[in-house]
Symmetry: C2
Subunit: 265 residues, 2 copies
Amino acid sequence: MTSKTLVCHASAEYIAHMLSVAPHMLDHPNIVSELSGVALFNGIDEATLQQFAQAASLRTEPKGKILFIQEDEAEWVYLIQRGWVKMFRETMDGAEAVIDVMTAGHMFGDNAVFENDSYSYSAQVVEQVQMIMFPVSVLKKAIASNPSIALNMLSSMSRHRQQQHLEIEHLNLQNAPQRIGCFLLRLCPADVGQSLNLNLPYDKTLIAARLGMKPETFSRALAVLKKDGLIEITGASVFIPNVPHLVTYTCDHCSTAFPCEDLKG
Amino acid sequence: MTSKTLVCHASAEYIAHMLSVAPHMLDHPNIVSELSGVALFNGIDEATLQQFAQAASLRTEPKGKILFIQEDEAEWVYLIQRGWVKMFRETMDGAEAVIDVMTAGHMFGDNAVFENDSYSYSAQVVEQVQMIMFPVSVLKKAIASNPSIALNMLSSMSRHRQQQHLEIEHLNLQNAPQRIGCFLLRLCPADVGQSLNLNLPYDKTLIAARLGMKPETFSRALAVLKKDGLIEITGASVFIPNVPHLVTYTCDHCSTAFPCEDLKG
């Protein structure tokens, strides 16, 4: 049963229940406020935001939940508020390529608007997620009728394209320890000091897949970083004793400087 | 001296000379007809096309010519009519990452509109190129005032994003011979028969870089393809004796089927 079927045939309480959301959370003023903080809605008038909010739902989903499958008819655009979602594609022979892992503030499913209303990848929750979802049809109408929405979407696609250029560059030029270094540095706050403790946001097997490595390559690369004194790691907890050292080790092999431009908001 | 300076201070003949273009080629009806065939101008009215054509120039450049450098102020958007152009970025330590190599029908420099009017990569001619170039400022105004241009640009960015997803997938999952197989199959016409002769479009060192391989990895991978009877190669000439075999070898390890959707126009 798809989410669309639920919306068509069920009461608001049932929808809320099925979406694992308490009914009081389906609260439009809150959604308007959340949406207004997202790049797509930058400078967008209150009336348009209200249209999105009225069509929107809040949804929480547990780790492991498949949100949609590549080539599914696209019904919803998702905006992550908390948690992590993996986007992946399957090859003809059943291997899985992780093309992105997104967290709070990121939107996915939006490009279905330009892809015959079908999703071009599958999406699965990797750490319990809370999301705002609104119909693809509402976004589609807004893009066609509101030039500001179209321009905001162009800006955000352009930023995404830049990040993909960087990712292709790293896959071409950086070795495995450097790609892990980059992954860790992108988790650091912009005002990071000399040293830092952080937690890996999701499990190591997925980090390896996200970075295009086999698990054994990932383990060997972590061992290199530890041996060189660049990180200490216990379970999911990572200590970077000297951030500038890790920056030199990693970012000298990148075409942009630390901290990454695209993370500055 | 930048191209912008030329436009400000030089006569049309001098511009044509400096741009290596015969003056008779700066011919608006021809440019209008060329532009109308490009996705960005799909369904766009004649008056808008005329605005672009009036601001446009034709330009040919020889192999090796640097068109612009990453972080240059962006003045021109380029539409390739013939030849090949490489887009690349340099890392802090001087290595070069080839992020794309484009040919006829493709546009580059356009995303500068959303990146503070600066180019996010460098561009160099790899096989003599003929291009139409028009000012970034003209595109910028058209995007803001003409919703159809903005929508066309969104569609084309979305297609590009799909291709990048596929490229990241291949860098993650395909081995070197499979990535070369994919490169060759993307050069085949959609109605390719059982076997095919084709010429490599640019030199092998660049193909290797484009595919994220060291030259020696590329040579070893070519040898594997030859040994398995999938290709015969002499200089730049490649014979594929059994296209379906190469498709099975390559496209079984990809999430899309042959022929690639994005090449269908």
